[in-house]
Every structure is written in structure tokens, then in C-alpha cells.
Symmetry: D3
Subunit: 293 residues, 6 copies
Amino acid sequence: MFFHRQELQHKAKPDAPDAVYARKLQEVLGGQYGEITVALQYQFQGWNMHMPGKYRDLVFGIGAEEMGHVEMLAVMIAQLLEKSPLGITDEAVQKDPTVAAVIGGTDIQHGIVAGAGARPVDSMGNPWSGSYITASGNLLADFTANANAEMQGRLQVARLYHMTDDHGVRDLLGFLLARDTMHQNQWLAAAEELKAEGIEELPVPSNFPLSKEERDVSYQYLNFSDGAAASEGSWASGPTPDGKGEFTYHEGPTTTAPYPAPTHPDARFYGTTEVPNRIEKIAGAAQDMFHKE
Amino acid sequence: MFFHRQELQHKAKPDAPDAVYARKLQEVLGGQYGEITVALQYQFQGWNMHMPGKYRDLVFGIGAEEMGHVEMLAVMIAQLLEKSPLGITDEAVQKDPTVAAVIGGTDIQHGIVAGAGARPVDSMGNPWSGSYITASGNLLADFTANANAEMQGRLQVARLYHMTDDHGVRDLLGFLLARDTMHQNQWLAAAEELKAEGIEELPVPSNFPLSKEERDVSYQYLNFSDGAAASEGSWASGPTPDGKGEFTYHEGPTTTAPYPAPTHPDARFYGTTEVPNRIEKIAGAAQDMFHKE
Amino acid sequence: MFFHRQELQHKAKPDAPDAVYARKLQEVLGGQYGEITVALQYQFQGWNMHMPGKYRDLVFGIGAEEMGHVEMLAVMIAQLLEKSPLGITDEAVQKDPTVAAVIGGTDIQHGIVAGAGARPVDSMGNPWSGSYITASGNLLADFTANANAEMQGRLQVARLYHMTDDHGVRDLLGFLLARDTMHQNQWLAAAEELKAEGIEELPVPSNFPLSKEERDVSYQYLNFSDGAAASEGSWASGPTPDGKGEFTYHEGPTTTAPYPAPTHPDARFYGTTEVPNRIEKIAGAAQDMFHKE
Amino acid sequence: MFFHRQELQHKAKPDAPDAVYARKLQEVLGGQYGEITVALQYQFQGWNMHMPGKYRDLVFGIGAEEMGHVEMLAVMIAQLLEKSPLGITDEAVQKDPTVAAVIGGTDIQHGIVAGAGARPVDSMGNPWSGSYITASGNLLADFTANANAEMQGRLQVARLYHMTDDHGVRDLLGFLLARDTMHQNQWLAAAEELKAEGIEELPVPSNFPLSKEERDVSYQYLNFSDGAAASEGSWASGPTPDGKGEFTYHEGPTTTAPYPAPTHPDARFYGTTEVPNRIEKIAGAAQDMFHKE
Amino acid sequence: MFFHRQELQHKAKPDAPDAVYARKLQEVLGGQYGEITVALQYQFQGWNMHMPGKYRDLVFGIGAEEMGHVEMLAVMIAQLLEKSPLGITDEAVQKDPTVAAVIGGTDIQHGIVAGAGARPVDSMGNPWSGSYITASGNLLADFTANANAEMQGRLQVARLYHMTDDHGVRDLLGFLLARDTMHQNQWLAAAEELKAEGIEELPVPSNFPLSKEERDVSYQYLNFSDGAAASEGSWASGPTPDGKGEFTYHEGPTTTAPYPAPTHPDARFYGTTEVPNRIEKIAGAAQDMFHKE
Amino acid sequence: MFFHRQELQHKAKPDAPDAVYARKLQEVLGGQYGEITVALQYQFQGWNMHMPGKYRDLVFGIGAEEMGHVEMLAVMIAQLLEKSPLGITDEAVQKDPTVAAVIGGTDIQHGIVAGAGARPVDSMGNPWSGSYITASGNLLADFTANANAEMQGRLQVARLYHMTDDHGVRDLLGFLLARDTMHQNQWLAAAEELKAEGIEELPVPSNFPLSKEERDVSYQYLNFSDGAAASEGSWASGPTPDGKGEFTYHEGPTTTAPYPAPTHPDARFYGTTEVPNRIEKIAGAAQDMFHKE
């Protein structure tokens, strides 16, 4: 169950309206790596988790916090839009090119659809999508996904920080940056803990029998581009991070197989085939096809 | 530039047709973590990269290999579909409930749209989307994204391995599992190398001035759910993975702010407001609105 | 069957080109609540309706009108784009910041994709989606959906009215506003008529046996936020609109249940579990898994 | 801010696994009118609301409850999937057509992607989309949207009720049906209260000056289909629900306008035009086009 | 303007219910090449057309017919669903695996969302999308798009023909096949007429000055795969269809350029760069960044 | 298998940065008819093809080239973005309305998400979608789709050519225009060759027995709009392009059928029906429904 309190985790009040910046903030509210994504991602991981205890408490504990971050961004966006022209026709606006320029950069739907309110979309207006979420049931994979989400998220907030001088906005972003610092650290720590406790290890999934994979190519760097410098990396020689092999380096593939013969499905799919084969098949198909009518 | 060779990296020939399994394989061809995703993700990372050398060679070297994996899966799917009934009406089919069941589980578009061919979709028929890709320009973030993609991908292939007995299919999956093992290891090694070389560090992005973030909350575990076990994890006490702080644990938030006042945008957006304010504003707006007509 | 007549229901001719406004008009052509939505929504309701007569005639009668509204907006948009620069490079354009600003606010695809023509998209460029449509077969629910669609639609047209001074555009919008007034009234009247005739009643669906629902909580306002004013509304005490109960007000839930135990699916899904359980299950699974190979 | 408690509002435990039914339940979790939609819709309405007090408390109070409904459905789905075959190859499965049929009807990604967990998708696998949400800032419109959402939602739950015999599932659905009964009643009451208090009235938006709309057609039923029975409805004669007019009935349109002349945009868009005009324009365009190169 | 008549162009009545087939028919109603696509595509081409007369009359004349085809398919689907179990629990259903299999193959939303009605989706449940439409303003390109749409559409209908024995369904499909035959012929004739009248020619767009394109590579077949047989085609030697050149054949590219240097955007985007350059830039950026705070 | 070479087919270096133009170029990289579409479309056609030889070599040979075009556009876009302001706050920017205007017209995600890099999206920010691809297995249909794709693509590049004065960009576009000229010619030649060799003919699919279609309407122009000029076209009289009939012209339909009776599905779907029928059905349904509980 979820409970809402009409307070915010941090002040979210801009110095001044800025409809163009409001649009930009939508990215970290409703984008691929925005707060809706992490809020729902952590909760789905919790609902699907296969054991009780500290890991499940962890995803629930952070998931609810992220819902509050969605809220802070939404109310910030609404305030940035509050006094903005947003396309209302007005002679002054039309004659001032800077204002006109601002209009060009706004989220049009902020005005027409939401009446100067926040929207569940990214900075280019794409609606948030459930396909952004990762919750596989395998915690080592998912905590890596979470670490990545917090890295991408903090990176985007850092970029947004430089796109405004508004002290109120920067104040909120400074808070979100700190929480992202925490969450990056936390997911990396949690991933390490899974390994330290022997619950999961590399490669993911660790309990799939390695004997079933084609071990000959498990640690080969196969170079399909012509840049030779890739051979200089730690991924081209030396021990592998999973502790189970040694990297080697090869130009191009080490294995090859001839191209399989083209398929010849039922002629009634009307795929194009070589003539003789085609006619023969059609004849047979036609029989099947007509005898029952 | 890309060059194609009419060979495969590994044999991709099933023992027998299986249209239901063909649909399942679509997940790792055209799903969120399928081969199209990694092929294009690594290439976009290369095209956007801000330095030459081993890291760029790395993403190009693997990106082209992944395009070849898309191909192996596509030709495998086409062969799995080759002799399948795929919904063609036939009395025997209609009377055999197992065959009828098979039809129920197929990708309908494999037959109607592709004529027994592979499609750029996932196992539920959702078309592949550009929004699956991550290429931020920050390599530590992106290599973490790549490691996650390879973990999720290998996990899905491992699950698919158990959903068939076909030796030809399992043979191909065993090869893909091995390559995913390699790629997990490689991206983790590359992420470590970025840190070892001092190019990037944690938290991402590492050169954003930490003094600008609200450091008071940078290492606090704030528990917004009521599961107390989260306090037992390595994310709740001790040094942080970025080497710059100490974790602490708190029930609920350590900061709070009152809810901001509701916004009152231009009355011509026709948002609902308290009555007196509303009437006053409408009067003013009406004047603006009418004087120019 | 549908027949087209090369006339419009109302004049649709702008005074002057305005490519930025053309983009804004796309919202009511191809947005969530645009004319394509209502045109197809009413028609699907007609095709799926389970009885002949006045209600079916109603949805067909209005559905075809709405197709004509799509047309009026499309030709209006094409004319607004006709003489606009739309990004064609021209020295004058580049040097005049107001014109430059205009370019920033246009739908880029109006020029590149449609050659100065209308598009089946909303004002942010999202393609129209079949998921905008509601046609459930239950007319009380669907007429409420229709009333909502006409309210949202008229609201958006009203906002758009203030975003231009063009008399030709405002003339058309004044016509659409009037038709939306009609359609709001009509769907509300139709919903009432369904109830007056005893065909449907509240709650929807009315013939699901109420004894099957958990009647204890059917009229309780449960407050999951901490705003106490919700207790003052007509939804917190007094008779309910369906005439079958009395509202009551409660802080938080009136019922609760312990969290169910975590699931433990087949180990071959490689979900993360507690260690002992995991090992035991893997052992068993491995047996299953290997004996057939 | 949001807080999570590891309890459920109602017991959510099925009698037996049923992977096909788990897929069906996804509709009311992640579909157009599922619980994610209402949870986020009410919260966005709150974040964007232009006045404090009972209406804002109302949307926050219910919004948080709906997040808890998402949770109940998610844990129910995970349990329905727990012991299901989900496509794992097994001889018994292959030989039992009922089990084979079950596999045909499952959400393939439940197994491959989520490892027997819930997903943020609908029953056909479409990811949840931000475009499902309505939050316009106009409360009379939005509460009508909310009433519709609860009607569609209760209708879908009622249909799902008959698609299972599982007592645990039916028990949960009986609870959700009751809450939907409450929420239908509540939004209808809230919409009436807005009108009773004089805050909003019909047509939405009520404070747009009616004199600006083309009042001649504001209450005309215009019949664009040939079903004559539509003239018998209460929408074809008598007073209108907004109390501001009288319905009238007409076959076809009462207004008409000639089709506007085709547009002739800049020739450099290469649209097809009549020959003479085209050549002339190309000549001019060519001059513009070439003189600067 | 559009007018609807409550008649169909052809009888649309199945012999018997078939919910699985109803799902398959959705492909040609709401798929990429379904009737909604062509209906709206031709109308958008008409609304955007830059000249009056026979070509515009043509797209309007066919566009309205296609709306009637959408209708025929929708009522057919509703009838196929009318008596189908669609997942309603019933002991007989549960025990009969053939019926169970049927349930596995249905569109789940046909039951839960539409109450046994048609939906604006394809056979895999993807909602129809505005991105399926092509209306560029260039008629030679668009008529080629139309010819393709009718080819893909007729191909899909032909495949569907073999997936049922129902005489009523086949009767309707036989009618649609004939209309697709007509429409393929018509668009090919119209494309030829554009060329015969000198309005358009190849390559599209024909009035872009050929001197501006890199004519050296305008007729070269460049082979980027290793299949040598492509040299045998009519596209590898001889005159070109546009009448303006001669095909030639080459292995691989005939031109090449070195890879451009990596970009170095503003350091405040936090992209990863070589170390020395990075530090230098950050220093500069930091100055800019801090002096104004 | 695919191999990558770190060279480009043509120089891709702009004279100067231009972030607005970078956004426009995204259309031909990641739009409906962009290079990702043709690259993957031709490869899927190859993977699904039912015969070896020249046609398969053709699609593979061109498909790989198109991947290289994606690359050229991506690196061009990254360079156009390299020195652009992209929204970074800077006093000069804020005060210069031309620069402000530029910001309004950029792809916001170029900065926030990609750090001044290219993205897999179109010019309005819609992510590339697998639904853009056509690969049906029928080569005459698919080569027509390919010809259309190259026409639309060349048309868009031609429009883009006029939207910039940058010599580096125009140089690349001049190269792409030439390749599109080649590819239009090639697909048209290949379609003709299929017919010349007797492999396919019109109408597509040509081996569906024409006796099964309703031949009476196979060559009738049926005019559903009121524009009479359509009767003047070559599609209204004379021989048909498939060589199998004569066009005729008719006002409106030549066939008609009464509207089918409304459906009456199981009452437990709660669709709205006429009252007496409804009550009767509910009674029966209720019995079914309750006896088993």
C-alpha cells in the first residue's frame, strides 16, 4: 500500500517562469531514464522478487522515494509554466523575437492539452512507455540495470544544471544529483553484496551450466571492425572479470558456417521462389486448396 | 562502411519446424534486449564517441558482430517457420488439438504479414523501437548500460534454452550464450579500465563539481517503505563504492519542504480555480481578448 | 458505406500563412482528443453495437460528421503552411530572428515529409494511435467516454482560439466550438436516456450482481493522502449518485492483509532466491533438465 | 511524498496457478484503463491543480490508493505464474494438449523477460503508455474522464470475473469491483459539486464566451448517416443539458462551404502541380535556389 | 464532407463464429497495410494535393470506398466473435482442449476491452498508428506507395483466404481481393499517366536539378555483400528505367573518405574524452560555469 | 556476417555547426523512410527470401551499403552538434534572439540525452520503429515497397538540400541523392525483371487463382466522392496494366448488401442491448454463472 503526504522532500520553487526549460525538465520526469522509470522499475522488481528480506526492502524503500521525485519535478514544471506566454497571442509577444523564440521551444501540449501543467512525456513529447522498465527477476542483472539508470539519470540532471541560471531550479537539481549519487553507490554496493554472499555471480545468470555454452568462444575478442587498437584493452588479454577464463584477441570471427538454404514455405503464402519449384508447389497446393470447396 | 559476407558465425539450422518457438526467439532478435538493440546501440556509441582509439574500436568491433547475430536469429526463425502450419486451414489441423494449440501460440504476423519469415518485433509482436538504445556520450554510464544489456540478453537466452529440445536451436543458443559471457566480461573490464586510466570515475558524471550537489544527502539511505531489513545491507553503513563517503541509514526522509502553492496560469487556459480569483481573472482576460477584435 | 462530397461544412480559409499555428492545430486533428479519435471512436461503437435503432443511428450520424471535421482541419493546415518558409534556407530568413523563431516552432515533418501538408499526428509530432479509442460495447460507459472526449476537445479548441488573431482560423474554431457544445450536450442527454429507459444504470456495468462485490467498501471514501479537506465533499457523506448507498469517510484503508510470501518459480528462470532454497531447487531442476539430453 | 507499507489493502492469493489468466489480468494492471492509468492520472491532476482544498485532496487521496491496487494485481499475477509451465519444455507438456493450449495463451514475456513476474503491459503485451492519461487542468472535464475510466475499468473487471473460477482471484476482483463502484460514484458526485458550487458549468470550458462560438449550430443534431431513428432521441428535441438551448434535428448539414482551392507551396518541396503553373514556379525557384551557390 | 449509408458494399456474414480467425482479420482492418491505412492515406493525399481535377478526384473517390471496407471487416469481426467462448469460464470449455486452444489464439482484448467487438489494432494487438500513412505531396512517389499498399494488402487477404473454410468469410475476401486487383491496376495506371502527361518523371522528384547530385555514382551498382550473382541482373548493366543513364557494376564502393575526427562538444555535456584534452576543457568550462553564480 | 571498416563512402564534414539542421537530418537517418528503414528492410528481405541467386544477392548487396549511409548521417549530425549551444545557459545566448531561436528548433534530446550526439529518431523525436519495415516474402510487392521507399527518401533529401547553405552538408546530400537515383532505378528494374522472367506478374500475388475473386468488380472504378473528373483518367477506361481486363467507370457502388443484424454476445460481457432481450439473456446467464459457485 502507498500513502501520500502533502509535503515535498525538497523545496521545488523556481525564481522565474521558463516554459522552454519546463519542457527540458520533462526528460528527467517522463523520459527513458526519468523518475517515472525508476519509480516503477524498483516497484516491479519488488513485486516480482523471489525472496523476502533486505533486497526486497531495498527496492521498495527507494521505489517510493522516486515517486516523490516525480512529484517534485511535476510541481516544478507547473510553476515554470505558470506565468509563461505559452503561445497566447499577444501583440507584444509577436513583436519581441526573443519571446517568439521561446514559444518555438516549448512543449506545445503543455499549453493546449495540460493548460500549463506537467505531462507524462519526455522532452520531445514522447509519452512515457512501459518498455523503459527492466525487472527480470535476476537481481544481479537488475541491479546493474538500476546502476545504469541512475548513471544516465544523474548525467542528464547534470546537463540540465548548466542549461539554467534559475537558483530555485538549480537548488532542486543539486538535491536530485545528490540522491542519484547515493543511488549509484547503493546499487553498485548491492550488486557486490549479491556476489559476496554467493547468491549470484558472473556471468549472469550464474547457475546456467557453463558446460552447455560453447566455451571455445566464451573469452575471445572477435574484431569485426578494422580498428586495431581494441587489441590493447584489458578485454583482449589477461584474466576475465568472472574469474573463469583468459581473454584472447582475434581479427574477425574464429568460427564460420555456410549460409543455410533458403526456406520454401507452403506455396499458399505466395512468397516468390525459383520458377520450376514454384510451379510444382503451386500445383500441389492448388489441389489441397480446391478439393474441399 | 559495412560489408556483408554470406556466411554465418555459427550454424543456425533447427532439427524440426516449430512456429511457437519461432515466436519466442523473436524476443532476442527484436526485443528490448535483443540483438538489434545491442547492434545499433554499440554503433551509435561509436558514431557519437568523442575520442579515437581502443574504446571506439571496441564498440565498432562488437557492434558489427551483433548485426551478424541478428542475421543468425532471423534465418533460424525463417527455418523454424518453414514447414509449420501457421494457420493454413486443413482438416487434419483442425481436428488435432495439439496442432490447434500450436496455432494459438504463434506470431500471427509471421504468416499473414511475412509469409513465414522473421520480423523486427519482440515475442509479443511489439515492433522494435529506437527508444531501447542508450548512447549518452559518457562511456562509464554507457558501458554499464552495455553490461546490463548483455546480462539481460544472456538471461533471456538461458530461459529460451530450456523451452526447446531441438538440438539445432540449442546449439545456436549455446553459441550465443558464450558470446554473451564474453561481452559481459568485456564491458565490465572496459568500465574498470576507464576508472583505472583516470578517464572516468564514480559517481557518473565524475567531473560535475560535487560541491554543487546537496552533499548532506549524498550517502543517506532513506527508507520510504516499512521493511527494516534494508538497514542490514552494505548500502546502509560503511564506505561507499565511489570512495568519497560513508553510508548512513534513516527511516523516511531527512529533509522536507511544504507543498508549494497551486499555480494560477492565464485564465484563458480555462483551468479550474477558486471562484473569486477566477472571476476577477476572467474579467481581465476578457478585456485583453476582445479589444483586438 | 461512406460517401464523400467535395464541400466543407464550414469555410476553412486562413487570412495568412502561419506554420507555427499549423503545428498547433495538429493537436485537434491527430491528438488524443482530436477529430480522428472521435470520428473512428463513434464508428467503432456503431460497428460493435448490440442493438439497432436510435443509439446506433446516433453514433453513425455523428461519426461521419467528425470525418468531415478532420477534413476541414487538414485543409486549413495545408493553407496555413502554403506560403510559410518552413525552413527553406534564405538569407532574409536567417537574418530575421522572428522568422528564425517561427522555424523553431514548426512541425519539421510538415516540410520534409509532407511537403507543406497536414499529417496524422498531434502537435508534438506523435502519430495518431488506435489506443486513443474507446468502444466497449457498454453504452453508458462509452457515452461517458464520448462526453469526456467532447469536453477535452472543446477545451483544447478554446485554448487554440486564443493563440491566434487570424479571423479565418477563429471563424472555423468558432464553428467547431459550437459543434462541440452540441456534442457534449448530446452525449450527456443520451447517457441520461439510457438510464431513463431502464437500459443501463449505475454503477457500470449495472447488471453485474452487486452481491458478488465486496459491498462493505462500495461507498467508503478511503483517504490515502493527508489532506483532510476531502472529507468535506459530497463524496464523503450523504447518498450516492447510484441511489444504492451512503458515502462514509475514513482516514486510510479500512481493510488490510499481510503481504503474500514471495514466489519461487521454476529454477530454470534463474530468478534470484535465498541461497539454500536456490541450491536445492537447482539440483532438482538440473536433473529434469539433463536427463533428456 | 509517497510512503510504502508492506501490506495489501485486500488479500491477493490465488487458489491455483493459471498463466493464461495472469496474462488476462495484465489488462487491468497495465492497459488503457488499468490501475497504472488511474494512479498516475489522479496524481498528475493533483500536481497540476490550480487551487488547494477538497478537490486536490480528493485526487491525491485516491491516487495513492490506486498505486496500491497496481501492487495487488502485480503480486497476484506473480503468484498465478509461480507454478505454471510457461513454456518450459517437458515431455508431459508436449503430449498434453490442454497444457499445450495453455502455453499458446500465455504472455510470452512473462517467462522470457520477467522470469514469471508481472509486467507493465496490457493483455496483448502493449507497454503502458503515458498517452493513456488525461489531466487538462479543467476539473469538470477531468472528473468526467475519471468517471469514464472507472466505468471502463469496472466493466473490464466484471468481464474478468467470469473468466475464472478461482476463489482467490474472484475474491480480489470482488474487492476491486466495490472500489470501482465507489470511485464511479465519487467522480460523478465531484462533477456535480463543481456545478453546484458555480465553479464550472456546461459546456466545458464554461467561461469561454459563448458569443464567440457559431451559436446557430450549437444545438442542432445533424444527421450524416441515413438512420432516421436518431430523430427520436432526447438529443433531437427538447431542452439541452447545459440549460442554454433547445435541440433541433436536421438531415445532413445545415451549412456548407465550397472546397478551398488547392495550395501551391514553394516549388522546392517538389509537390506535384498542374504543368504550366509548375514550370513557371520552378523557373522562379531555380533562380532563388541557384543564385547563392 | 462524409456521409454514411447503413448498407454494405458486399455481404459480410460468416457461416459460424471463429474468434481466432476474428483476430487474424484484424490485420487487414488495423494493420500496417490494413483498410484504415489506405482509407486515411488516400484522404490525406487529397487534402494535401496541390492541384484540382482527376488526380484529386481519384484519391477522394477511392478513399471513401476504403472507409466502407473498414466497416465491412469490423462488422464481420463482430459476428465472428458473437457466439465464441472468448475465455468465459465454462466447464465444457475447460475440458475440451480444442476449445482451450482456441482461447489461446484469440485477441484477449476482443473480450475484455471490446466485449466481443472489433478493435483498431492489428492481428498481434498493436494499435493502428498514424506512422503507417504516406502522403508526401509528390504524386509519383505517393501513387507508388499506394500501389505497394494494395499489393501488400491483397497478399495478406490471399493468405487469410486459405486460413478459413467459412464460406461467408471467403465470399467477403473474394470481394476484397477483386477490389485490391482494381486498386493495384489503378495506381499503376495513374503513375504512368503522370509520366505520360509530363507532370512527373523519374527519378522522384524529377525537377530537382540533376547537376546537383553526384552523377558519377547515379547508376553504379555497388556490391557490399559477397554474392556475385547480383551482377547478372538488369540493374547491373544496360539502360536505366529513368532513361538517363547506363547501369554499371562494381564490387564494393567506388568512393571512400577517411573517418572524420571525433567531436569534442562542450565539456559540460560530460562526454568521455582523452584525458589531457578533457582536463583542459573542464578547466575552461568551469570558469564559465562558476563566474556567474 | 557483417564487417565494419572505419572509412566512409563519402566525405561527411559540415562547414559549420548547425544544431537545428542536425535535427532535420534525423528524418533521413531515423524516420519512416530514413536509412535505418531501408538498411534493415533489405536485410530482412534477404533473410526471409525463398530462393538463392541474384535477387537475394541484390538485397544483401544494397542493405549493407545503407548501413553505411546511416553511419555517414550519424557522424554528420554529431559534427553539426559539436560547437552548437544546444541550450547551455550563457548570457550572450539569452540576449541574442537568433541564437535563442536556434535553441527553440533543436532536438532537445540531442543535448540532454546524447550529449551532442546522433539519435535513432526522426526529426520530431519519434523513435525509429520496426513497423516501418516491409518484408513480405513476395518480391514483386517488396520491390515496389523498396522503389517507394527510395522515392520518398530522395524526395526528403531534396527538400533538405534547400534547407541549408552548408557546402559540406550539401556535398553529402548530393551523394545520397545520386545513390537514391540509383536505387530507384534498380528496384524498378528488378520488379520488371521478375515479370520478364515469369516469376511474378500482376496483380500481386499473381498465383492466387483469379477465379476465387469476385471478378465482376475487379476492374471497376467506383466513385465514392462527387468529383467527376476521375472518369477522365486512364484508370477509368481502356486496358488494365495487368493485361487481364478493361477498366470501367461507375458513380458509387455497383453492389450493395443490407446491414447485418447487430450481434448479441454472451450477456456476461455486459454490452448494452434492447431491454427485453437483455433481461431474458441475463436470467439465463445468471443461472450459468451462479450454479457453479
